[in-house]
């Protein structure tokens, strides 16, 4: 097991290196420079000094090796927008709200989705099933920013139940969390229903019934675990869409998170911030994939990793 994880971490590092390289060169293709906004006030000579100061006059390959060199030492560089504050520092202050929102939406969304899917499969072809089906289709096909707008309008503006924006306490998280969790909830509900239907029709469920096991135990002890295996598979990619989802949602609800910062950094060509945030998202994504793979082993003994056992 430990050997397996170590191996996976080595692969993660290689993947990250490739991502860093690709992002770096793609980013250099962005038009403009970090100093566009102040360019009018500066003389050419002053501009040259600035570009020299940040190493932006070097040939791109030299910049690349300098950056990678810093990266290996854990240095993500300094931000151009915030008076030379370290990127790591900026990310640390911004990551809190994003992580909080993302985790809250992901956990509540997938649990609700799994419950919804289970109920739909138990009462299949009833009104409960049809309702959950329609909800799921709506949740999958309508983008989160539409829900965000609707939620803001009704719950914040019309009925004044929750604050419309900003980040000052738990009640401020409610609307963005709902807007974010609808997609994972819908996906989980769909998958869970399909899987449960299949599992409930399987031979081992019939055998469990033949043993006289009660319906509740059949659901939770026998069926749930087997039905969860494929659902876990979709949770990985879903987390990614949640990450990109946060970019938009944070903008709409004015949440001082990473997503909001990321969008701004791209607009002003803040190279180190773009690199830093991309790498962070990549680490999170690869990490989630690893966790999903490990979860697989816990849930499904058939693919339990025994670390080089032959």
């Amino acid at each position: 097991m430990a050997k397996y994880i170590a191996q996976r971490i080595i692969y993660m590092i290689i993947t990250l290196f490739i991502i860093a390289t690709a992002t770096f060169f793609l980013m250099k293709l962005l038009p403009g420079s970090p100093f566009n906004q102040v360019a009018a006030k500066l003389s050419d000579a002053q501009m040259e000094i600035l570009l020299d100061r940040y190493g932006l006059n070097d040939p791109v390959p030299v910049q690349y090796f300098k950056y990678i060199g810093g990266l290996i030492q854990g240095d993500l560089g300094v931000s151009f927008q915030y008076n030379n504050r370290a990127v790591t520092d900026l990310i640390m202050t911004r990551i809190g709200p994003s992580a909080y929102l993302g985790a809250q939406a992901m956990i509540i969304g997938s649990i609700l989705g799994i419950i919804l899917g289970m109920v739909a499969s138990i009462r299949h072809n009833s009104w409960v099933d049809y309702t959950s089906n329609i909800l799921a289709v709506i949740g999958i096909s309508i983008p989160s920013f539409v829900f965000a707008g609707l939620l803001q309008y009704y719950f914040a503006v019309q009925w004044r139940i929750f604050p419309p924006s900003f980040w000052e306490g738990p009640e401020y998280t409610v609307l963005p969390t709902i807007a974010l969790m609808i997609f994972p909830m819908a996906i989980c509900a769909r998958f869970m229903r399909t899987e449960m239907m299949e599992v409930l029709g399987s031979d081992y469920i019939e055998l469990a019934r033949a043993k006289g096991v009660s319906n509740n135990k059949i659901m939770f002890k026998h069926a749930l675990r087997n039905a969860l295996i494929p659902v876990i598979t979709v949770i990985g990619p879903m987390t990614v869409s949640l990450m990109t989802g946060t970019l938009v949602i944070e903008q709409i609800f004015a949440v001082p998170g990473l997503g909001e910062q990321f969008v701004r950094s791209i607009n002003v060509n803040d190279y180190p911030m773009i690199m830093g945030t991309t790498l962070l998202f990549s680490v999170l994504f690869i990490g989630v994939v690893l966790i999903v793979d490990l979860l697989y082993g816990i849930i499904d003994p058939r693919i339990r990793l025994t670390g080089g056992k032959k």
Binding site: D203, K211, G212, V213, K221, N226, R302
Partner: protein, 353 residues
């Protein structure tokens, strides 16, 4: 011997998009204590549905038992609700399934799957149930039961899994064991082992067994009595000797004729022509008439009742009516009947020596 189970005029129907399927259309039989009753018939004849009905495992709401009684210990199982049936399933009546590759829960340890019934029905605590599970694995012939109990189904071979399924079925010393084609999915050498195991266990526990199969070779090996099912009805029922040496129903002749034996010549395999009738619209008269070379006019008009051949032997064919012409089974089937008799005799001699 006393009857442990009486099935009277059992009907099972399924509602489908195409209409109502009458899967079982009036089945009657008794099961005696300690005997093995084999139910044979081709796919779709209602064998499995009958056993599922006995277990209360007909999938609802599509499946229904509109008519009939299943009397077990003075109770009519056909009318018990699911809560009561849960008490009977696994404790008094248990079941061995066809495909051991799919009938064990892949995410649960084998031990846990055996212990479940013990904890529920015999109110054992975990430690006691575990001891009993080890005992059961030993009983069904699984080596190293103490280690095997902590393994998952995918660590077992097909034959070993079927032994586990049998252990699960036997856990609470059931009075009736329903075996739904327990050897069909296994290869032949393992089949023989599993059959031996079941016979062996029956000797020890005196369980009554209902053995569903379409393999007449298996029937000859395990059964005391045989019921032949066709299109949702029992068309002939009798002891193994009755069915193999003195079959009366043309369908039974067909089954025997289509069964290869060691000394049958190539051209001797007789297939029954045609296909079973559509049970959404069961035909008028005898359901087998359309495939029956001996069919008479009355077969298309009226359903034959069960005619008594002897105290143990009944068959539902108009050929047994006193006005019917004398019809002999086809020559190949007759040769086979003789073959069974001599094979049996030599078997017995072999055992004696």
């Amino acid at each position: 011997m006393e009857n442990i189970l009486e099935v009277k005029d059992l009907h099972v129907t399924f509602d489908t998009y195409g209409g109502k399927v009458q899967a079982v259309r009036g089945v009657n039989f008794n099961l005696k204590k300690g005997e093995t009753l084999a139910i044979v018939g081709e796919s779709g004849s209602g064998k499995s549905v009958t056993t599922k009905a006995l277990m209360g495992l007909i999938p609802k709401p599509a499946g229904k038992i509109p008519k009939g009684e299943i009397i077990f210990e003075g109770k009519d199982l056909a009318k018990l609700n699911d809560k009561h049936m849960q008490q009977i399933r696994g404790r008094d009546i248990s079941m061995i399934f066809q495909d051991p590759m799919t009938s064990l829960n892949p995410t649960m340890k084998v031990g846990g799957q055996i212990m479940e019934g013990l904890i529920k029905h015999q109110k054992m605590n975990k430690a006691k149930a575990k001891d009993r599970a080890i005992e059961l694995l030993d009983l069904v012939g699984i080596p190293n039961p103490k280690e095997r109990i902590n393994q998952y189904p995918h660590q077992f071979s097909g034959g070993m899994r079927q032994r586990v399924v049998i252990a699960i079925a036997l856990a609470c010393n059931p009075k009736i064991l329903l075996a739904d084609e327990p050897t069909t999915a296994l290869d032949v050498t393992i089949q023989a082992q599993i059959l031996e195991l079941m016979k062996d266990i029956q000797k020890k526990t005196e369980t009554s067994i209902v053995f569903i199969t379409h393999d007449l070779g298996v029937v000859a090996n395990v059964a005391d009595r045989v019921a032949v099912m066709y299109a949702g009805k029992i068309v002939e029922i009798g002891t193994v000797d009755d069915i193999f040496y003195n079959p009366k129903h043309p369908y039974t002749w067909g089954l025997l004729g289509s069964m290869p034996t060691v000394d049958s010549k190539e051209d001797e395999l007789i297939a029954i022509p045609g296909t079973p009738p559509d049970l959404m619209k069961p035909p008028k008269g005898d359901a087998f008439a359309a495939r029956n070379p001996y069919a008479m006019k009355i077969d298309t008009e009226m359903e034959p009742p069960l005619f008594k051949v002897s105290d143990t032997h009944y068959a539902a064919t108009w050929l047994l009516h006193e006005d019917a012409p004398q019809v002999e089974p086809p020559a190949a089937v007759k040769r086979r009947m003789k073959g069974f008799a001599t094979a049996d005799a030599s078997d017995e001699k072999g055992e004696e020596s």
